[in-house]
Symmetry: C2
Subunit: 417 residues, 2 copies
């Protein structure tokens, strides 16, 4: 069963927003055994919408359209679909009542454009959008399903989860897809491929292996498609085991969770607490951890000690250390981490101090030089990394390196693996 | 002049990675007057690549392809292009030397798969990729340009900026596109549209107005296309002025910079310093500021005081305050902000404390309740917000609200606007 996603809106094409909806939809569709064949982003232009719709229906059974449903003139999706399916627009009283209630709740008056949002193609199935005023419309056309949803992520996600996915499952009988991720570190993509070439070659045709390198990690993904979920799970487990045995010392995780979530889970399981002392990563690592519900049992907080003054006052880094070795040094990183453990009263702490760039480098310490320290109540270890010249990339790589150091330390201290 | 972007890789379709490349490319192409007509994401499958290429060439003059160029078996872009253009693969000695040098520098041995990366379609223009081993290939086909680049953002960005964009500019003569953004707050999309309906209706056909709502802000974007950049600038300035005058009290900015960057610039201009006290935003606001090069002159750092213990020890929030009013209260937020100003020795501080969810709410203080305080050395102001039940959205909305409060306070204190 194939789906295609069509996202409508000039803002994606001119790059003012990044399309995060499609990735999310891809994940959700895969879970129910629907493969995304293509994602197409086009402008708010009737002729182009029609063309994309025609082409998508040649390749896929389900077409999910997001965007272009706002009350303003640049949004033409609804009227284009009405013409495409030859259904005149008609005021839908249920939708109008919903839009009215929505504005009442916000204590805002409605204007003409909002009332027009309740005019819908006569003949489509109207799916109520509890989180907004833009309509959600379900069309059937020669055995194909075409759904139009708002592009606002919060509204689209609710509609997909609560309405569209269940309706798709009801409508079709689909094969299962089982994915298994193996997160590795320390071996480049091509070396990894060479190590497991014979295992990959021997995979049956319904199981695929993909390599997803990112920030010094390589994620391997096995995907199996078939009708019997139990058989697929056994097959995938079998091949996963073979790969993991082959490259054991490079394997970090075999769960498909973000790395920081795996750390939170591991620490939570052992009732350990964590704090952070971030300089060049500037709050990014804290943000990664605190994105996850329930992170507060493990993560107590930390200092974003961007200035030297804060490194001293918040973390207790000695002035002499800063003067003698500089802010980006083994000594400062270690004192930051130990200071965090002591001042924030946690079992572990990570400290990161470096030169993220693009300026601030010297011959001794070029842009991309980063010291990471991991401290527990017993000890502190520090390591230097040399990244490149891109600020955001350096921040992300530093975060990944810091989490890796913490993870390896935890594995050692907890005698895992 | 139209371009299309084709991104190749199963990882985008199954949602394991978000395609951020295309948005970045859209911005860069727009700057030189190339409009992106469509972005197409497809799998690593030869027949689909060929189909996408055929279709893209019907609509656009420049086709930019990213991804599918790694050394592993799932990457088929290069071999597919070689067949498509009927060019046999041939070992390119210059590329091979480059790949060898790359591995030497990393002090890593080369394997067979890496050598194969230097086999390129005989007849394409090879563009050297200084940042990686995957090749960049430039093809010409019936007056159309087709470029294949690696999908790694760092490599793609360098290639676009230093190689592809200059080559495109040399090759074609293109119209100019002038964009102007007006950032507004406090008025919904449809109300804004109603207020400026007559201005929008009177726009000439080569100037378009778009509404980009996000997190309580609405960004208006005027885009003008034409051959005379000076005339376009004058026209756009004229229409911008009309819109700004009409909705003056809702306009925050008329620059196209991220909101936090505008705050850094404003504070930097007045030699003001900032610190943060983040609870529920967990480092996100710090991260937003520290993304930007040079932020350290304004942003000194802050505390991610997730636990009550840290609110006391790092920010000096009184135990009685936490006991009597709770962590999510006007009093705690105010003490956090004042504590940050005092302890971190900055001119201003923002504090955020709230219940991001999905758990932790009560009848009194449901999930989504957030207190934001802005303090200077003279005063502190606090305000309560009620957001919804989505954790990440609450973090983002809280950050936006906090920055808005700081911005308005700065405007007032500096007597601007």
């Amino acid at each position: 069963m194939y789906a295609e996603i069509i996202t409508i809106g000039d803002e994606i094409l001119i790059g003012q927003i990044v399309d995060t909806n499609s990735a999310w939809m891809g994940v959700e569709l895969n879970k129910i055994g629907v493969k995304v064949k293509q994602i197409t982003s086009i402008s708010d232009e009737a002729s182009h919408i029609v063309e994309a719709l025609d082409e998508a229906q040649k390749r896929a059974d389900i077409i999910l359209i997001t965007g272009g449903l706002g009350p303003t003139k640049d949004d033409v999706t609804k009227i284009t679909l009405a013409k495409y399916f030859n259904m005149p627009l008609r005021l839908d009283e249920v939708t109008l009542a919903h839009v009215k209630a929505f504005f009442d709740k916000l204590n805002r008056p409605m204007i003409e454009a909002n009332i027009k949002q309740a005019e819908l193609p006569d003949g489509c199935t109207v799916v109520m959008n509890k989180n907004g005023t833009a309509p959600c419309m379900w069309f059937e056309n020669n055995g194909k399903i075409i759904v139009s949803m708002p592009g606002v992520p919060f509204e689209m996600k609710y509609l997909m989860q609560d309405e569209i996915i269940p309706r798709i499952q009801q409508r079709f009988k689909m094969p299962f897809i089982v994915h298994q991720t193996i997160l590795t570190v320390g071996l480049g993509e091509s070396f990894l491929a060479e190590q497991i070439a014979d295992i990959e070659d021997a995979l049956p045709s319904h199981i695929k292996l993909a390599y997803l390198p990112k920030l010094g990690l390589v994620r391997l993904r096995l995907s199996a498609t078939g009708d019997n979920e139990q058989v697929l799970l056994i097959e995938v487990a079998h091949h996963t085991k073979k790969i993991v045995e082959r490259v054991e010392k490079f394997v970090v995780l075999t769960e498909d969770v973000p790395f920081e979530k795996a750390i939170l889970d591991l620490m939570g399981k052992h009732s350990l607490t964590l704090s952070l002392a971030e300089s060049c990563t500037g709050g990014y690592i804290s943000h990664l951890f605190t994105q996850h519900p329930g992170s507060s049992t493990v993560f107590q907080g930390g200092g974003v000690t961007y200035s030297n003054a804060l490194k001293q006052s918040v973390l207790g880094v000695k002035e002499e250390t800063l003067l003698e070795f500089g802010a980006v040094s083994e000594q400062t990183a270690s004192e930051m981490a130990l200071g965090a453990v002591a001042n924030f009263k946690t079992d572990y702490a990570i400290a990161v101090t470096g030169i993220a760039g693009p300026d601030g480098g010297s011959e001794d310490k070029p842009v991309g030089t980063v010291w990471v320290a991991v401290a527990s109540k017993q000890e502190v270890k520090a390591k230097m990394y040399k990244f490149a010249s891109q600020r955001l990339q350096n921040i992300e790589r530093s975060a990944m390196a810091a989490m890796m150091m913490l993870f390896l330390q935890l594995k050692q201290d907890l005698e895992i693996g």
